[in-house]
Amino acid sequence: MTTNPVIWVASLLTIAAFSYLYKENEFYRAMEHLYVGVAAGYTMVMGYQNVIAKAWDPFTKKGQVIAIVPALLGLLLFAPLISRRYAWLRRFPLAIVVGLGAALHARSSVVQEFVVQIRSTMISLTTIDNIIVAIGVLSVLTYFFFTFKQNAVTKTSAEIGKWVIMITFGAAFGNGIMGRISLLIGRLMLLFRDWLPLVKTQ
């Protein structure tokens, strides 16, 4: 059995978290709250590092006055916590972040997820697989036509699209189970290889 305190603490906390599988209990609730607290604390540390590196140090050590402006805007996010009267101040930093996110997302989406993907669907229809891909993409697109009345052709196409989507989701389901099983294997390795030496790996 290991004497490493990290593994001991990690294993006991893992068992406390897993105790939920038997019945909800106080240990599980305590672990839930501990996790949220530690995660929030970790987040604060990372936020602090970013602010110091990108705003505080350039302002104090390099004299870049403009560097403190985003920090002041960031502080405006806390306005609702101080007083409801000043809650509207948070709209300015929010406008920047939301505008930035929307613009970054939309501009690149046009090329990378729209144009490139459509172009890649225009493949030579010389193999069955390519025909299935082309028909599949078109039929899935027609499935998402919700804003006008569908005729016989689009209805049939949408029905094919539904089947393609079902198979896609089935594949995602299979892969999802793969992912979850591997996460559980990781925890079992912690408990039964690192903590209790029941499992030996290379």
Binding site: Q49, P58, G101, R119, T168, A172, G179, I181, I185, G186
Partner: protein, 277 residues
């Protein structure tokens, strides 16, 4: 209630116990099922194997620690591969835990002689998700004035020739979120991009590989096992594959039994209704 009906009503705790046993037994006593290598992992390996000593790559540690068991074996295998080839790595991260994860994964390599600042650097986490990725690949030192260890990025020799992602030979990301933001922000720079993805989202990246936006992808624990096979260096990935197989068999059996019970119950109910009518 006969056995077929009972098949559909097993207690949850029995299911959980069965799952644990079925996973533990092959971990303790491996079966040794061979793992074949998929074409996407093969492609990813080949593009990374072509790198030369001294080449610089950028690696984004975009997976959260909760999903580490699925994607970390690939990450460990890739890092080992790169360290073996003396390829230099710039680590970035768009998730909070990334910096700490890098420190843990690189600790044995640093102990083995890989110099921080010359062979690798850990720039740590940058807030903002996709915006952080966009800012990093555009102007690395502007996005990261300091690294995870508090050093000024101007002082790091590895970064002296790197302004943006266009100055590196390859970009590789490991993520539990999605590949979309990397494709959107990195592929316009026209360098090879490889993705390591958690199993749950790897299928969504298929269109990007077919379109050539991603050179290759590695999918979950299986991807890690495949990479370890190509590296001829077995690790956690390969060690877990037998357990993964047994886990899948159990889930499939659950689905089959439950559906058998369902169909039997349905036909009995239909027969009862017919009799009653």
């Amino acid at each position: 209630m006969d056995i077929l009906e009972r098949l559909g009503r097993i207690d949850n705790r029995i299911i959980y116990t069965l799952l644990v046993i079925v996973l533990l037994v092959p971990l303790a006593k491996p079966i040794g099922l061979p793992v074949s290598v998929g074409k996407y992992t093969q492609k990813s390996f080949e593009v990374m194997d072509k790198l030369q000593a001294g080449d610089i790559i950028m690696l984004d540690m975009g997976y959260s620690i909760s999903g580490a068991s699925d994607v970390e074996p690939q990450t460990i295998a890739v890092i080992k591969h790169m360290m073996k080839k003396n390829v230099r790595i710039i680590f970035t991260s768009c998730v909070q835990e990334g910096g700490s994860i890098v420190e843990n994964l690189m600790a044995p390599h640093e102990k083995a002689g890989k110099k921080y600042g010359e062979d690798w650097v850990n720039l740590g986490y940058l807030a903002g998700g996709e915006n952080a990725i966009a800012a990093t690949v555009r102007d690395l030192k502007k996005a990261y004035p300091k690294d995870f260890r508090g050093n000024s990025t101007d002082s790091l020799p590895l970064l002296s020739t790197v302004k943006s992602v266009a100055d590196v030979k390859l970009y590789i990301f490991f993520t539990t979120q999605n590949a979309d933001m990397y494709v959107r922000q990195v592929t316009p720079y026209k360098i090879p991009v490889v993705g390591g993805l958690i199993s749950t989202i790897s299928l969504q990246a298929e269109p990007y590989v077919q379109a050539g936006q991603l050179v290759g992808i590695m999918s979950g624990l299986r991807g890690g096992a495949e990479y370890e096979t190509l590296m001829k260096d077995p690790g956690f990935g390969l060690a877990s594959m037998d357990a993964q197989s047994m886990g899948h068999v159990l889930i499939v059996l659950f689905i089959i039994f439950a559906n058998i019970s369902y169909f039997v119950q349905r036909s009995r109910d239909a027969a009862k209704r017919k009799k009653g009518a």
